[in-house]
């Protein structure tokens, strides 16, 4: 359990603070359901806006790889797993609550308002 961060800027716990240098994300979706599609769109928008060049995103369709769902303990769909920086966080839902997503990813929201 290394607590060292790449760049050493972000604290271990998410929330207010400096943005992490690098974010590793896995998004598990279930085919082309509306929720899944929305989640992909929302996540891509967040990454482009807040993490340009600092993230790695892997989108996994659990219909295609059902064994992964079991291995990764996926229950809800869509599920976003933030693998890095630690701690690992799981976000379920279509990621439309941008404020929550940003906080969970350890990114500073643009302002104190919940979301735009």
């Amino acid at each position: 359990m290394s607590s060292e961060q790449p760049g050493g800027l972000a604290p271990a716990n998410p929330g207010e603070g400096a943005s992490p240098a690098y974010v590793l994300l896995h998004l598990y979706i279930a085919g082309a359901t509306p929720n899944s599609t929305r989640a992909v769109q929302n996540l891509k928008a967040i990454c482009t806006q807040y993490l340009p060049g600092r993230h790695e995103l892997l989108i996994i369709d659990i219909y295609q790889q059902p064994e992964l769902a079991s291995q990764q303990q996926i229950i809800a769909s869509p599920t976003l797993v933030k693998l890095w920086p630690l701690p690992v966080r799981r976000l379920i839902g279509d990621l439309s609550d941008r404020h929550k997503v940003l906080v969970a990813l350890g990114l500073t929201p643009p302002d104190s308002a919940p979301h735009d």
Partner: protein, 577 residues
Amino acid sequence: MQDMLASSAAARPQLPKAPTGIDGLDEITEGGLPLGRPTLVCGSAGCGKTLMGVEFLVRGILNHDEPGVLMAFEETADELTANVTSLGFDLKALQAAGKLKLDHVHVDRSEIEETGEYDLEGLFIRLGYAIDSIGAKRVVLDTIEALFSGFPNQAVLRSEIRRLFRWLKDKGVTTVITAERGEGSLTRQGLEEYVSDCVILLDNRVIDQITTRRLRIVKYRGSTHGTNEYPYLITEDGISVVPVTSLKLAHEVSDEIVSSGVPALDAMFGRRGFFQGSSVLITGTAGTAKTTLAAAFAAEICRQGKRCIFFAFEESPRQLVRNMRSVGLDLAPYQEQGLLYIESSRPTLNGLEKHLVTLHKLVAEQKPAAVIIDPISNLITVGNTAEVSSMLTRLIDFLKVHNVTALFTSLISGRNVQQEMTEEGVSSLVDTWLSVRDLEGIGERNRGISILKSRGMSHSNQVREFIVTDEGIQLLEVVVGPAGIVTGAGRLTQQLQEETLALAARQEAERKDREIERRRRMLEATIDNLRTEFESVEEELRRINQEELLRQQAQLTNRQQIASSDGRPSAASPPLA
């Protein structure tokens, strides 16, 4: 038992069912759980919900070759495997054989953040994948409500769980869902019971410090089912449900007779013994040789080369064997031959149901001709009267169905000797009822045995006194005194009196004989006298005759002499030479 089910089910087409293979459960569900539909098993902690689920899967694989999926929300695969190993379920081997799939679903609220709309498709996919990969026919979800602790959005969960049930039905898998019992409702969420086609409620109750587990079928769509609460047990072989009473009174009966082991007692029965497969009750106060009578019966069964199981709730096997040796009943050889099996345990060791299951198991294993329980009255210490009574009803039914002769002893209260009611109220269930009691007289107690009832044969109405000797039990001959049958010292007195009377009568007879002899002799003497007298008279007469003849001759001679003399008028007289 399955034959009985088959015969009752044959009448009409029935809902297709998946046999659980769980001892007794198929009997009360009349064939098993609804095939291809979800069944809810709910109950509080420690009821064996998970175990029931696992057993359902394992039995399905072993008995019906139906692969199964176990989705565990609370225990990991390793924990589950370890927990059921002691029951002889080897989940690892079943998994390796591709018959079983374990999937642990880890739900942790702290890791989960809701960020918008979602569904539980991940769960569906996992489950679908597990089912398809092994061709599963059976699924267990243990315990699905764990999801509620992980996902805050109740509305989504409820609709998703509904969808899951629908989806499982469409898949055609027979599903068991377990759930914790809620306050005032069957489940905490009040959801599963409405979407399940069958609901089985498990209950764990402590009454008078004794735990009894009970099972009830709350609902079963499209099928009749047993509605009672059925006790069940978690035994070393898994769950065992004991139907309260066997379903019908339709068992085969035997016309064979078995001896009681006491020949004189047999003689009191019209058919010289008990019917094979009947139930015999021996009631009596303390120390009336109930156990000895029971042991005599056991020895008789074994002597004929049949098996006998002796449940001793008061004595250890060695103690029983030793004690019975003192009355000339040597049980040890039968034990060695494996004919006699003595099972000793304190009644309080187990709940009633456990005793019943032990008995079921032993009967199934040993196939005995007779079972003895000594005494049933001790069972009252582990249950209330109603429970003991119901247990004994089940027991008697069970033994009758298996054509096993049952002999029970029961201690009755000594305060009221005439009390002919057993506390367990089983006296009406048994076929033959023997009563042994103390016949207490002045300064002594004697044992008396009588037959209170004997279904299907005539029997003696006498109270027979019996003694326990070095050679076993002996019934004494009936002695009738002026005021009825007498026993003990009264019997001896009566016998002495009778002997005295007999002696007097004999002496009287002898005296009369002597009198006759004397008379005869007197008569004979008189006859002799008369004869002598007659002879003397006869002789006298003869002598007189003789004399007369001589005199006449002499006269004639004289006359002739006179005639022959000259000129004498008496010329007619011959002349003298």
